[in-house]
Structures are given as C-alpha cells and as structure tokens.
C-alpha cells in the first residue's frame, strides 16, 4: 500500500525552518546577556527597572547584532560542511600530536615544563596575581585533585567535600590555640598537616562506612547533609568554635629544625611554593595509586560493580578508601588555607563551595589528573583576570562560570582534558551498555 491509498488525510503540522529557530535562540540569548551585563539594579518598588533600561538602551542593538553574527557564521559553517572539512584537514596533524603527546617520555617532559613554569612565572607577576594564585588557584586545584579520587576514580558523588576542608581548617585552628577550646599542647602547622589528615580520614570513614553500603544517590544526599551539619556545628557551638566570628590569629607555617629557620609571612610567593610542593607530592602519589591494584579495583567497580564484587573485589572497602583519601586531601588543603589566611569562620565553607569544586572537576575532565588541575586552575584564574581588567563584574562571575559549564556539558560533556578510559565509559553508559560510576545499586546493599 502506498501513501496515496491511505484513507486518512494526514495534516502535517506547520514547521518552522530550524535555521530561523536557531536565529531566534541567538537573538534571545543576546538580549538576555544585555540584561545580565547591565549595571542598573532593580529597586524594591520597581523590580523590572534593570530589564527596561537594558532593553531600552542602545547596547541592546550591539548584543542583538553579535547574536546574529554568531548565528550567521555558524550557519555558513554548517552549510558548507566545514566541520568535516576541518577535521579532515587536521587529521594528520592531530595524529602526529597524539603520537608525540601519547608517550611516556612526553608525559614527563610536559610535567617538567609545567613544574618549571609554576616555579618561574609567578616571580614576574604582580602581587595581586600572586595572591590569586595562592588563595584561589592553589587551594582549589588541591581540592579538585582530592575530589577527583572520589568522583573521577571511584565514581562516588560527594556533595559535602568542603566539609572536610572546614574540618582540616578548624583542626589547624584548634592545635594553634586560635579556638576558644584549648588543646593540651601547641603544634606547628607542619605537624598539624598529618594530624588533620588523620582527623579527616577518620571523619571520612565514620561518614562513609554506613552510607557507602547504600545506593550511590543516597551518598550524595547524606554528604550534602553532612556538610550542613558541620556548618551548623561550627556556627552554634560557640564556646568551642567561636561561632560566627570564627577563629583569628592562626600562625603561619615555620621551619625550625636542624639549624634551618624559615618563617612564612603574609607574602604570597612562599605559600605558592608550599602549595605546589604539596600538590607535586599528591599528584605523584595519586598517579601511582591510579595505576596500582587499587586503581584497577576502582575501574572495575565503576565499570560493573556487581561483576567486580563477584570477582572478589571488596567493593565497600575500596569505595571507603577513595572517600577517605578524598576527605584527607580536603583536610590537608584546609590546614594550608587556614594558616595562609590566618582566620577562619563558618562562612568560609558554604555548601555551595562543594558544588563549585565538583564543577571544576567535571569541567576539567573527571578521572584525569591533568584535566582537573587545568580545569580548576582555569576556572579560578581567569575570573580573577577578567575582574582585574574590568571585563566582568565580580558578582557576575558565578553566572559566567555557570554558562561556561552549561555550554561545556552540551558540546564536550567529558570535560576539557578527559582521561581516555573515562570518556569511553561515559560513551558506553550513554548507550546503556555499562556503568560509568558507582551510583547504581550496590550488590551488598539490597537484602
């Protein structure tokens, strides 16, 4: 039977050419950006002031034009099939590039260049950028590297990660007598580092042990709640934590052994070197871990948790291990942060900070050490640059980061520099072939 013989006349719904739909989308986006970047604030009596002034201004024309230009360029690109042309032309170059960068020797070469750059370049930066490097880039890169173990390698969604950062910072506050509750002895921040690692390890185990037996999504909820509990504890337990005021006068790091005396001060550069030394140690350790039996167990758990358990992988133990390693890394950065800044209060560790670190990890590429380092560094350094150069306003920065993440998730959901394995896992999971994380039902938690 052909179409002509069909008894029913099927009316085709009226369709708009997708090209015009896309144009409309770009124009709306332009108008939206025009409003978003306008400086007028709304008033309590007139919430729409900013919208009216923005859409009435001549700036609107510029934004709409920009939207139309982007649209036109993309349409030409699409019509000519330039995407395939370009990927065909560059195939050879990209092949060479993979050949060069894929090897083990190149790996170390890149690492060396990165290390030299990290040591030399900050010397020539202004004090402002040095401060950004320490207070933003270094802290968040360290946090991201730790969260990568939990999220990227073990495949566990931890939304309370920064709670351990707070625990580390308050541990530093406690042992340096900055908190109202006094310790029996006073410790140098260097000695506090291992103490904080142990404290956070134990905290991580205590939180993880009952929850990691449950399904993955419960873990996300429980960790979110845990962060809230830690924060409320810090605010409410006034006589221990100093409440909302927090703790002041946490001393800087100092070395005073074997006749070597060195005192860290308010200067940023020495702290920068302390941070990257710590980072180098962690990257080395985590890289070994990834390629050990532990790393293989995490991979197996991610790819198929039931099969991993059936093959004798103690899944709960390895998930707990990842969780605790992440927690202690977070605590370690907490000590460094507390000592660097000198004061801490509950407002320094909001719940949204956990989400921020997670978004850095996802942006950089879950499971890839290089990816999360680069991702976290970019997303902390670039906003500072834009802000300093007055390109964007400070209060708009979260919006821009959010926009970048949305665009990233649409066009490159595997992240900036994904690990090869992780990218393929996400691909398989999208086809429903296997898991890409440990978020499905755990084999032991069902009975």
């Amino acid at each position: 039977m052909t179409v002509g013989e069909l008894p029913l006349a099927v009316r085709r719904p009226r369709r708009i050419d997708p090209r015009w739909l896309r144009l409309g989308g770009w124009l709306v986006l332009g108008a939206l950006l025009c409003v978003m970047t306008s400086t007028e604030e709304g008033t309590p009596s007139d919430h729409w002031l900013v919208v009216r002034t923005a859409l009435g201004s001549t700036k609107l024309i510029g934004w709409l034009l920009a939207g139309a230009i982007v649209w036109a360029l993309l349409e030409v690109w699409r019509a000519r099939g330039l995407g395939t042309v370009v990927s065909g032309r560059t195939a050879g170059v990209r092949g060479r590039w993979h050949e060069i960068t894929g090897g083990r020797r190149a790996h170390w070469l890149f690492l060396g260049i990165a290390a030299v750059a990290a040591i030399v370049i900050p010397q020539f930066l202004s004090e402002f950028y040095q401060r950004v490097l320490v207070d933003q880039v270094a802290v968040f890169v360290l946090l991201a590297v730790g969260l990568n173990v939990v999220v990227g390698w073990a495949g566990l969604l931890d939304l309370g990660y920064v709670a351990f950062f707070a625990i580390g910072a308050y541990t530093a506050g406690y042992f340096t007598r900055a908190l109202p509750v006094k310790p029996p002895f006073h410790l140098n921040p260097f000695v506090i580092l291992p103490v904080a690692v142990v404290v956070c390890l134990v905290a991580g185990l205590l939180l993880g042990a009952p929850t990691l037996r449950l399904r993955g999504d419960y873990l996300a909820i429980v960790t979110l709640g845990f962060h809230e509990i830690v924060q409320l504890f810090l605010v409410n337990k006034n006589n221990w934590t100093g409440g909302n005021q927090g703790a002041f006068g946490i001393p800087h790091f100092s070395i005073n052994i074997f006749g070597i005396h060195y005192q860290w001060t308010l200067a940023s550069l020495p702290y920068w070197y302390l941070f990257i030394a710590m980072l180098a140690v962690l990257v080395f350790l985590f890289d070994r871990l990834e390629h050990s039996k532990v790393g293989r167990s995490w991979t197996a758990i991610r790819e198929d948790e039931v099969a991993a358990a059936a093959n004798g992988v103690p899944t709960v133990k390895y998930k707990l291990m990842a969780f605790a390693i992440g927690a202690s890394t977070s605590g370690l950065s907490g000590v460094l942060y507390a000592s660097r800044i000198g004061y801490i209060n509950p407002a320094s560790f909001p719940v949204v900070l956990s989400i921020t670190v997670l978004s850095y990890v996802i942006f950089g590429g879950m499971g890839s050490l290089v990816g999360v380092i680069v991702g976290a560094a970019l997303l902390t350094f670039l906003p500072a640059v834009f802000q300093e150069q007055n390109i964007v306003r400070q209060e708009d920065i979260p919006m821009w980061i959010g926009a970048i993440l949305v665009v990233m998730m649409i066009f490159r959901s595997q992240g900036l520099i994904p690990s090869r394995r992780r990218r393929r896992e996400l691909g398989l999971a999208a086809q429903g072939v296997s898991d890409a994380d440990a978020m499905s039902e755990t084999p032991e938690g069902r009975a």
Partner: protein, 247 residues
C-alpha cells in the same frame, strides 16, 4: 553419569537449607533446599522470575539471605561478603556475562584472579586451553567481543579464581544454538577437570544432557528434584521446559 542418590552429606560441596531471600517485602526464595556433591554438574531449572539468579547471588554473597543456611564444605557461608566467598573457592559467572567492557581480555582474566597476589600462570594456561579464542584476542577490549566470546570470557574469568565450585548463570542466554552447544561441551570439560558445577539454565534440554541431577524451581520453591534422566522423561518437565511436541 553417577550419583543417583542425592545429599550424602559427606561429599556435599554445597548445601542450601531452607533458604529465604527477599527483595524488600517481596519474597523471591521461600525455603530452597539444594545439594551439590563433589564433582557433579547440577542444574537448576526454572522460568523467568522463578528465583534461579537470586539463588546463585545468595550463594556468592551478592545477596544476604533472610533465613536459612548455605554451607560450603560443611561451613556456614551465608551472610559473608562476596570477596570472602570468592576466596573460599566459589567462582560465579553472573547472568548476562557482565565482562568489564573497556578492559582487555587479559585484564578481565586478571580481575578474575583478583584474590591472588599475582596471576597464576597455570590458571591462565588452563583458561586459554579451554578457550583458544580468548588467547587469540587477549589484547582486545572485552566490549568488542561477540556474545559467545564474552560468555567464554565470563566463564574463564570465574575460573581464574581457582574455584572448587563454579556457579554459571544462564551461559546460553542470547546465543546461537551452535555456540551454546560449544559452550556446554566446554562446561563438561571443566567438570571433567575436577570442578564442581552448579548450572542455572532455561535451556532445559541442553542442561539436562550435561547434568547428573536437576532441580526445578518455581516461584521461589523447589518443586522437583531428580536425576537428569528422570527429569528428561518427566511429562510435567517436558511440557513446561522442553516445549513438548516441538521436537
């Protein structure tokens, strides 16, 4: 085939006594009794949802029984975690193969030997001897293997843990008849090399040809237990599981 009389407990490798397993409020197993003797192939037959996979998962510790006992060589093993069950010598090739898709064949086999400090050479040789195709494809990603090859890999992976008792969950699932009979031949060979096998199947005709004894599971209860030859000639089994009249 020998061993007409089941459950002489001196040679029993595996014993289930009144095994109850439930998923929340739903009871999947309502008191299963089952015995596997040393050196036997025993098959557990049943339709979809009868509780066959649940039984195997309870044995290998993936599920915790609500009541009842599981004994392996006389020792209670119910309620202990799966990695300890594997270490005792129970290998499990789970339903639907579940190979690690992005690991190579060799890496999958290494995961099977997880309980050993280093991969035992003789185990690897044995698996490659049983499944020459796996040796050919040792560096290929498991996800790119055919269904039959993946099943072979799943069985091989379970063998890498050097089990006394091998639990096979529907090895014929979704495979062409020719591949199925090939795999059943290899299961027989594995058994002749000294591994006791508990085989869960829907393909009753093939399973009963291979097994010494069989159990029939219906909605969580064992409804029949007899030597394989008797089950093959039993009219009820023929009607329900052998597609009576089709052959």
């Amino acid at each position: 085939m020998t061993s007409e009389a089941p459950s002489s407990s001196s040679t029993a490798v595996l014993e289930l006594r009144g095994l109850h397993v439930s998923y929340g409020a739903i009871e999947a197993l309502k008191g299963v009794d089952l015995v596997v003797n040393e050196g036997e192939v025993v098959t557990l037959l049943g339709a979809n949802g009868a509780g066959k996979t649940t039984t195997l998962q309870a044995i290998s510790g993936l599920l915790k029984p609500r009541a009842g006992e599981i004994r392996f060589h006389g020792e209670r093993v119910d309620g202990i975690p799966p990695h300890e069950v594997v270490a005792l010598g129970i290998g499990h090739a789970p339903e639907g193969r579940r190979v690690f898709p992005l690991m190579s064949v060799l890496e999958n086999l290494r995961m099977g030997a997880y309980r050993f400090r280093r991969v035992p050479r003789e185990e690897l040789d044995r698996v490659f001897g049983l499944f020459p195709v796996l040796a050919q494809r040792r560096n290929q990603e498991a996800g790119t293997l055919s269904g039959g090859e993946q099943q072979m890999l799943a069985i091989g992976r379970a063998l890498m843990g050097r089990p006394n008792l091998l639990l096979l969950d529907e090895p014929s699932m979704g495979l062409a008849p020719l591949i199925v009979s090939q795999i059943f031949d290899i299961i027989q060979e594995i058994n002749q090399q000294g591994t006791t096998v508990l085989l869960v199947e829907q393909n009753a005709a093939q399973a009963l040809k291979l097994a010494a004894r069989g159990y029939v599971l219906e909605t969580g209860t064992i409804v029949m237990s007899a030597p394989a030859r008797e089950l093959l000639s039993n009219p009820r089994v023929r009607a329900a599981y052998l597609g009576e009249g089709a052959e």
